[in-house]
Each structure stands twice: as C-alpha cells, then as structure tokens.
C-alpha cells in the first residue's frame, strides 16, 4: 500500500530540520517577502538558509517545495517572477502557486519546474483541477478545507492530478483564496499581503478579569482567566448577534484528521499537509512525529486502526483553543 506523503511546514531552518528529523516526507517553505501567505516579520528563508535546508532534506532523501502562493500585485509583478526564478535556480521539487498568471510565467520560463496548485488557488472541483492541468500541466492540487470526504473522493476519481488535503493545523474556515475578512479591520488579507490578521494590527490587552484581543482597534474576543486562547482572526472572534455574544462563524480550533486516516488512504489522497509555517520548531517536531506514527499505523492496520490517546493528547495541546475538529470532512452536507 502506498501511504500519502506527509508534507510539513518550515518557517525557519531549524523547523525544516525538525520536520525532516521527525519523519516528514516533504517540507514546504517560503521566501522572506509577500510572495507567500505567511509573510511574518523574521520568518521564512533567504537564499542561504534555503540552500542549506534543501541540502539537508535531500541528503536524507526528502523533498522540498516552495510556496509562492499569494497573488502578484499590480506594478510589482517582477518580485513574484523573481521568486519563481529563484525556485528554479534552487532546484526545489515543486513550486506551490495560486496565481494563474504566475503559472503561465513558470511554464514558459521554466518548463522543467513541477507545479502544484495552492489551496489559495481555490479549486474545489475536478473541473477546475483538470483545467489547470490542461493549461499549465499542474501535477498536484491542494484542496480547500471545505470539502467532505466524499467530495474529495469525487475529485480524485475524476482527475489524474495528485490531490493533497490538509491533515492538521489552525482551521481557516473559508474557501481559501476567497476570504477578505482580515481586510475589514486591517486593510490587509492573505491573498493581497500574504497574511491574515497582521501582527502590527494586533493588540493583547490584559484587563482585570479578561484578556482582550483587538484587531485594527476592533475588539474581537475576550478570554476569561485561564480560558484557552486562539489566533486573533475575525473568523474566530466572538460577536454580538441579535442580542447574543458568541462565536458566530467558528470557534478557536484546529483541524485534525487523524481519526479518518484509513479512509484518506483508501480514497487515494496523494499527500497530507500540516499547516503552521508561523510556528516554532517545537511544534513542527511534535506534530510531525505524531502524524508519522499515526500514518504508519493506519497503513499497517487499515480498518482496524484506532487513534492512540497519547497522539490525540499531544495534538490537542498544540491546538488553538485546545480544541480539535474533523472540519468539513465528516459533515453530512453535499
């Protein structure tokens, strides 16, 4: 049985090494600028650390992907083109792109470069995936976290493009690539600036009884003493709706597909992605080690597979709001 590739995040060289050392088949990273969707101060790779990271992974037989998954902004397209040139020059195993214009550039300039369609490209059906293959020869597509397992199966049955799904990490509840919520409070959103809820707009205020999260001055949540917290994104804020104050869109929570691994393997998913380039090497080690063990066990045990309490506990601790969900994968909707 072929197991899906375990694809893990690297926001720094130590995180990349942590992923490789703990059993990632593939790691993904981005450059230090707005050409990728985790454009945070001090995060990501320059030419030197990228080369060191690629050497480290290759020497251990692992693959390296580079994310160039934001949309090129008018007047500045050359920065995105340069990022693609650099990926080709570094010799990464593939680039993860969202912008169709950039795909076109990549195909013309670097026909040998393997292309993956980013989750930010927002392809939710096989027609979109197959169109991208016809036009640009993409080899893999990452599906947004809004499809049920049946819908994922349906896509896989109708395409020969490899399908990658999210396995663990902070939940982004929108059809990725179509969310501008962050713009309302900060003027910046993932597709335009490579970041949702940029840190310079975030303030944590310690009151008498609560910790207040403000985004662009707007109060988006209040955590009671010792209440688990989450990232300050608008989708996971508490809002007053018709006299009730609650998590109107989504709660602070992380996606965790561990319980569904046998089905995911069964329907032929090619790769499972872990979210979190913004997080530390400690997180990358813990998640990678746990999912490696779970994936190997699921491969061995198939339908007899059960999630070990220790794994669940380890991932629970790392989750936003200390909560986990199977997300859309097991929703009854069609």
């Amino acid at each position: 049985m072929i197991l899906p590739e375990l694809v893990c995040p690297a926001g720094s060289l130590p995180a990349l090494k942590a992923a490789v050392d703990n059993g990632a088949d593939t790691v993904y990273f981005g450059l230090k600028n707005d050409t990728n969707a985790r454009n945070f101060a001090g995060l990501n790779f320059d030419d030197k650390s990228a080369r060191a990271g690629i050497d480290y992974a290759r020497a251990r037989g692992r693959k390296v992907l580079m994310a160039i998954n934001t949309y090129a902004q008018g007047g500045n397209v050359s920065r995105w083109h340069r990022a693609i040139d650099e990926a080709a020059d570094l010799g990464v195993d593939a680039v993860i792109l969202a912008d169709l214009g950039l795909m076109d550039y990549a195909v013309r300039r670097h026909p040998e470069l393997r292309l993956h369609l980013s989750v930010q490209g927002s392809a939710t059906n096989y027609e979109a995936v197959n169109l991208a293959r016809e036009l640009f020869g993409i080899r893999r597509a990452v599906l947004p976290r809004v499809l049920t397992l049946d819908q994922v199966r349906h896509v896989i049955e109708h395409t020969d493009v490899e399908i990658e799904v999210f396995g663990f990490g902070s939940l982004c509840v929108m059809v990725e690539g179509r969310c501008l919520l962050s713009s309302y409070a900060t003027g910046e959103s993932p597709n335009t600036h490579g970041v949702c809820s940029p840190a310079k707009h975030v303030r944590w205020e310690h009151g008498e009884a609560s910790l207040d999260a403000r985004l662009g001055g707007v109060l988006i949540d209040q955590y009671g003493k010792d209440e688990p917290a989450g990232y300050p994104t608008l989708c996971k804020g508490r809002f007053a709706v018709q006299g009730d104050t609650y998590y109107a869109l989504e709660e602070p929570t992380s996606l965790n597909v561990m319980a569904m691994l046998p089905q995911i393997i069964d329907i032929g998913v090619a790769a499972i992605k872990v979210e979190g380039r913004q997080r530390s090497p400690a997180y990358v080690s813990q998640v990678t080690r746990t999912l490696r063990a779970a994936l190997d066990a699921a491969g061995r045990e198939a339908q007899r597979f059960s999630v070990r309490p220790a794994w669940q506990q380890e991932l629970g601790r790392l989750s936003e709001g200390q909560q986990q969900t199977l997300g859309a994968y097991n929703r009854p909707w069609k």
């Binding site: 926001g11 720094s12 060289l13 130590p14 995180a15 090494k17 942590a18 050392d21 703990n22 945070f40 101060a41 001090g42 995060l43 650390s49 940029p198 840190a199 310079k200 975030v202 303030r203 944590w204 205020e205 310690h206 910790l211 955590y223 003493k225 010792d226 209440e227 688990p228 917290a229 989450g230 602070p252 913004q278 997080r279 530390s280 090497p281 400690a282 997180y283 080690s285 813990q286 601790r317 790392l318 989750s319 936003e320 709001g321 200390q322």
Partner: protein, 144 residues
Amino acid sequence: MRVPELTVPTRLARLLGRLPATPPAWLLVTSLNQLVKRGVLPADMELLAERRFEVRLVDAGVSLRFAADSRRFLLDRQPGEPDLRLSANVADFARMMLREEDPDTLFFNRKLSIEGDTELGLIVKNLLDSVDWHETPLARFMAS
C-alpha cells in the same frame, strides 16, 4: 531531558523579588551580545533598535529589562512601560528556549502572555526560532 513541571516556591520568589534584578539582566544582555557576535543569533538589529523589552519570570517575581540599539543589547534603566513584555513561569521559558514547547502553544494555554507591540513579539519569537543550536555547545540540551 524534559523540563519538569515545577514552579518557583513562593518563599524563594519573595526572596528573589527583593534582590536587585540588574545582575541577571546584565547576564542576559551579555549572553545575547555574545550570541550576536558569534553569528548564532541572526538578529537584524535594525528591527530591534531603540526598542525596550521586559522578560517577566512570574513565579520567581523577577523582571529583566533590557533594550537594544542598532548594534547590540543594553541594560534598560529608564522607568516607564517597555515596548514588549513577555511573562511566563521560569519552567515555561526554559521549555521555550530548549524547544520543548512552541510559544504559540503556551500562549493558547495561557501560560505565556504578550503585552505591548505584538509585531515586535513576533520578531523576537521568530528570531529565537531561527537560531540553529546545532552549531553551539547547547545542542545536547535541546529537545529533538
């Protein structure tokens, strides 16, 4: 090796709190400058210059204050609010430094608090994450 689940006992903390915080702060500043000089801490000092920091060891009752200019870290003796204050118990700071625990995890679990300039906090966090301890004698203490 894992950092044990310990807090500094209250009596000791009361004692520590009464000692001057300058020597430990001086030690911290000196070590940071050493790491920068040896190229272990890949600090872009321009991002930290003219900013003031406070590390509060909650259970020990000790606050370490320091600042930076465009070349190095310095002691901060000015009164007033720092630009960034990180507070946690000693054991949790140790876990963070030894890479046993991710700062975001500690934050979600309310064991680490960040006050002041959140972006500066992110810069500091990402700076610590990018240190390759493999290259230093500390490597053997790090969690794998």
